[in-house]
């Protein structure tokens, strides 16, 4: 049976996390279809049709689908899920919000945040903030799944030529409306998919001092992340948070500055390829997982590193 991937998109372009989700889907079955539900979303549907390995794209275009309101999107996904053994979406705030609603409509127990596909019924997922990995087997005939993007490689965004089709809309549920988005403006790479991430913690002491990390990030072409402590202290916006309840990242290089390394933070970055820790406390837990640790005052080390790179 074919599997269905729910595209994350902004009506014109496809969010890269969709590409990782397609990889997970292809591990279940080679017959991968993509649902692109939105409004004025032909461009997004065209982009989805080019994704490597996608056989068919189903476009649903309706005004009530312009924003990602779960109340309007979940019925459309459920209605278009007929004939699919698995329905997958990225475990981003989009997928986390809408997919459980889909699962409940289909009366199936969702499997959240999978990091591996064993077979069509069996998956691995982290529990306890990544302190343990559970292998779970589903007995539901139709499976709703969210996929941790960093656990699967992205397929090529180009090279495919999927068949195009139109799916049915479900109308406005009339339960919710979009008021606004206070977007975090940034010219830097997206935190979730950046090759290099520079993260700061409480060690910076103030929002003004935290700005020091921007120069380092600019030098490296890196995205900026933060510990919960730095976000709670108001140094950076909420969507910079890396950790169990924030973003999970796995870049080539993760530089943690002034971050002690609470379990909850490690859960969000310990799959990074190379980890560097800079901290003045040599007992800080972050050093136990860092490939390279530098015990130093960040106010000396960060400017020096920025200069010499």
């Amino acid at each position: 049976m074919p599997v269905l991937v729910i595209a994350q998109h902004n009506n014109s372009t496809i969010n890269p996390a969709t590409l990782n989700t397609v990889t997970a889907a292809r591990k279940i079955d080679a017959d991968v279809h993509v649902l692109v539900a939105g409004s004025d979303n032909q461009a997004a549907a065209d982009a989805a049709a080019k994704i490597h390995g996608v056989k068919k794209v189903i476009k649903v275009d309706a005004p009530e689908l312009e924003k990602r309101l779960a109340e309007n999107h979940a019925p459309v996904i459920a209605a278009n899920a007929d004939g699919y053994s698995h329905i997958l979406a990225p475990a981003t705030t989009f997928g986390k919000n809408v997919m459980p609603r889909v699962a409940a409509l289909l009366d199936t127990q969702q499997i959240s945040d999978i990091i591996d596909v064993i077979d069509g019924d069996t998956f691995k997922r982290p529990i306890y903030g990544g302190q343990a990995i559970a292998e779970v087997k589903s007995s539901d005939s139709q499976k709703v799944i969210t996929v941790r993007p960093t656990a699967f490689d992205a397929v090529d965004a180009d090279g495919g030529s999927a068949e195009a089709s139109d799916g049915a809309a479900s109308g406005d549920a009339g339960l919710s409306s979009f008021v606004g988005l206070e977007a975090s403006e940034s010219d830097r790479p997206d935190l979730s998919s950046a090759k290099i991430v520079v993260s700061g913690g409480r060690g910076f002491g103030s929002k003004e001092n935290f700005a020091m990390i921007e120069a380092l990030a600019d030098k490296l072409g890196a995205a900026i992340g933060a510990s919960r402590a730095a976000v709670d202290s108001g140094y950076v916006p909420n969507d910079y948070q890396v950790g169990q309840t924030g973003k999970v990242v796995a870049p080539e290089l993760y530089i943690a500055v002034g971050i002690s390394g609470a379990i909850q933070h490690l859960a969000g970055m310990k799959d990074s390829k190379v980890i560097v820790a800079i901290n003045k406390d040599e007992e800080a837990p972050i050093f136990s997982i860092a490939d390279y640790g530098l015990v130093a005052d960040l106010f000396d080390a960060v400017p020096e590193l920025t200069d010499k790179l």
Partner: protein, 254 residues
């Protein structure tokens, strides 16, 4: 307005979780248990709304063993009015009753109690599923405001500011609705000893899943639980120069 606040007793968030030697689950013996931190935030928000006169009654609900009453007493000491405990012996170390069954239980209780809204944690920190609130909203045909960092109750509606990947999104929801809490919604209060004494006198009703006609047969089987791959400890470098050298020539990442 009346509000229902589902809460869960989980391994305390400061505890280092240990996988059982036979890979069947995680160790619960002599492990500190507490209220799920996101649920504590939900209880706090409900109490704040009661303090400003928008909420009149706070009912906390939990699904679990007798011991789950401990966190319900904590919620009552914080300021919740009464509690309903749905008793079950489902294995706790893997997250207890599955989210869909929890959502069905809560739907049955919503049908009975008719609250104006439900506020609950966005996820429990044991199985990290992040599903129950959304599922409950679907089963009830209600709106959902997930990952809330701000809640503004209005007349027949609630505006919820949500922590999303791109920033902060605000949605306006028709009441009744389900709201799930994120970390920055508020800071839960500490309970005082006299309040703990007072909480012992508050009503705590005990019922069973059968009373609500909900089936707790799991849909997922846990095949095994294992330790995550351990990162081998790295090296300490003595200077910024050495660090740059290692990153360029050894790790080759810059």
């Amino acid at each position: 307005m009346k509000v229902l606040v589902p809460i869960k007793r989980v391994i305390d968030y400061n505890v280092k979780v240990r996988v059982k030697a036979d890979n069947s689950g995680v160790e619960l013996n002599n492990v500190k248990m507490s209220m799920n931190p996101f649920d504590e935030i939900a209880v706090e928000e409900a109490i704040k709304l009661k303090e400003v006169g928008k909420v009149t009654e706070i009912v906390v609900v939990s699904i679990g063993p007798d011991k789950a009453a401990d966190v319900m007493r904590t919620a009552m000491a914080m300021g919740a009015d009464r509690g309903i405990l749905v008793k079950t012996d489902a294995a706790l170390d893997l997250g207890g009753v599955e989210p869909l069954a929890v959502a069905k239980t809560l739907k049955a209780l919503v049908d009975k109690e008719s609250p104006d809204f439900v506020i609950m944690g966005k996820q429990s920190i044991d199985d990290d599923s992040n599903q129950t609130g959304q599922m409950l909203a679907a089963l009830l045909g209600w709106a959902q405001g997930t990952f809330a960092s701000k809640v503004v109750l209005g007349d027949g509606k609630v505006d919820v500011t949500r922590e999303v990947d791109g920033g902060l999104e605000t949605v306006s929801l028709k009441l009744p609705a389900v709201i799930t809490t994120d970390l920055r919604l508020n800071e839960p209060r500490y309970v005082k000893l006299p309040d703990i004494m007072k909480a012992k006198k508050k009503e705590l009703e005990e019922i069973t899943p059968e009373d609500l006609d909900v089936d707790y047969t799991p849909r997922l089987t846990v095949v095994s639980v294992s330790e995550p791959p351990v990162r081998s400890g790295g090296v300490k470098v003595a200077s910024v120069d050495e660090l740059i050298d290692k990153l360029k020539n050894e790790a080759k990442v810059i």
